[in-house]
């Protein structure tokens, strides 16, 4: 069984150790929820998982193979949603999504399906600059639906979303998991998901006196 795991991770950023001795395992169909106070390293951990950052020490592995050995192979497996929505103001919603899903080999029907999923089918020809913050986030989430991958890394995906969009997101995540895929997400607003594993980053925090 292919697992996504990390062992003995140390993250050192901006002159301080964010966390130390952190480990995690995600099995197919599982959802790992990262919690912890601001600054406890939730975003850093997600960026480590995506390969945007390299851990100071420790390894992150997919099925036992460290992801840093084959970064392009890892990129094929992941979809990352960060704090920014990556929407070009001058391109329409369908052009924005079409570019990203095209790279992963997704087709137009998947884009339409993803837009319907988040109730933004009517925005398909609207340029990015006319979208509200919540609509941008919906488009950003539709992006990951439009190109299926095995692992979703979602950094505060509920930002700017209204209640109905959050429930759509919950549906999308559950559907994604039922197909045997994995989700790692950080949240403050508590998504209503079944059988999640919670990782509290607060417990791996390094006190200032230890520096």
């Amino acid at each position: 069984m292919t697992q996504f795991s990390g062992t003995e991770l140390i993250c050192y950023r901006g002159g301080r150790t964010v966390f130390r001795g952190l480990k995690f395992t995600v099995a197919p169909g599982a959802a790992l929820v990262l919690v912890g106070p601001n600054g406890s390293g939730k975003s850093s951990l997600l960026r480590l998982m995506a390969g945007l950052l390299q851990p100071t020490s420790g390894t992150i592995a997919w099925g036992g193979e460290p992801i840093s050995e084959e970064p392009e192979l890892h990129n094929q497996r992941i979809q990352y949603v960060g704090h920014q929505t990556c929407i070009k103001p001058v391109l329409t919603v369908s052009e924005n999504l079409g570019f990203w899903s095209g790279i992963h080999g997704g087709g137009t029907d998947l884009i339409l399906e993803a837009l319907e999923m988040f109730d933004i089918g009517h925005l398909i020809d609207v340029p990015g600059q006319f979208l509200s913050a919540g609509q941008k986030q919906r488009v950003n989430l539709a992006r990951i639906l439009a190109s299926p991958t095995k692992l979703w890394l979602l950094d505060e995906p509920t930002t700017a979303l209204d209640v109905s969009a959050i429930s759509k997101l919950e549906q999308a995540i559950e559907q994604h998991r039922q197909n045997g895929n994995m989700v790692v997400l950080s949240t403050h607003s508590g998504l209503n998901l079944s059988n999640t594993i919670t990782l509290n980053l607060g417990q791996y925090a390094v006190g200032w006196e230890e520096l």
Partner: protein, 223 residues
């Protein structure tokens, strides 16, 4: 791989055409910068013809540098750059596609405008053809080298000024051999060796610059 390259190139061109007058401004700057010289030096035809190669080349360098700051800046600001580094193909390919788009939207229009300026500066037809060949070989090198600077200054304030300080010294070889080729022809010699060196610079920059630019981008998204 080629499909992905073309996909990024198409997106970049699409963005360039829709969001801006960038290439228009670059061309206007090029024209105005060259036109200033007859005003400053006086309209004596021989002197203008004598300095024309150097003036046109220097103006082309500065013009091509103008738009470099935006090469990665917008993608960096809206988070697209993070996603571009997380694609299932080498980041170098993305950088190369962006460089190609930069050349097509700035280098190529410069070359198209150069004959007009050459007439203005009283260059003859023989030297004009060499000017165009040297620009054709040289301007891609400018975009290639410039991409390293554009990637290195991401995240810094006043990036535009910093790029000029980083990149202009590296442009000197291109300037020497680009302007030198035209000098050689007007002096009655052959420009072959100059043009071959320019070609050599292009061949060397083509693999090295995307590689260095990609390394700088990986640094930029880490912070």
């Amino acid at each position: 791989m080629t499909g992905q390259f073309l996909r990024i190139l198409k997106r970049e061109l699409n963005l360039a055409f829709r969001q801006g007058m960038d290439s228009m401004m670059v061309v206007m700057f090029f024209v105005i910068a060259v036109v200033l010289f007859p005003f400053g030096i006086g309209p004596e035809a021989n002197i203008l013809a004598r300095i024309a190669p150097g003036v046109i080349w220097v103006a082309a360098l500065l013009a091509s540098m103008l738009s470099l700051e935006r090469l990665f800046q917008l993608d960096y600001e809206d988070g697209s750059l993070e996603l571009l580094t997380l694609q299932p193909f080498p980041l170098e390919l993305t950088v190369l596609a962006k460089i190609c788009a930069h050349w097509l939207t700035t280098g190529l229009p410069l070359i198209a405008t150069a004959p007009l300026l050459a007439i203005l500066m009283n260059m003859d037809m023989e030297t004009l053809s060499i000017l165009l060949i040297s620009l054709l070989l040289g301007t891609p090198v400018l975009s290639l080298i410039g991409s390293i600077g554009a990637a290195l200054v991401l995240g810094s304030r006043r990036g535009g000024v910093l790029i000029s300080l980083l990149i202009l010294p590296l442009y000197i070889p291109v300037l020497i051999f680009g302007a030198g080729a035209i000098e050689a022809v007007s002096g009655g010699f052959t420009a072959k060796s100059h043009l071959m060196i320019l070609g050599g610079l292009l061949v060397a920059a083509l693999p090295l610059c995307p590689w260095a630019g990609a390394a700088a981008l990986r640094q930029a998204v880490e912070t």
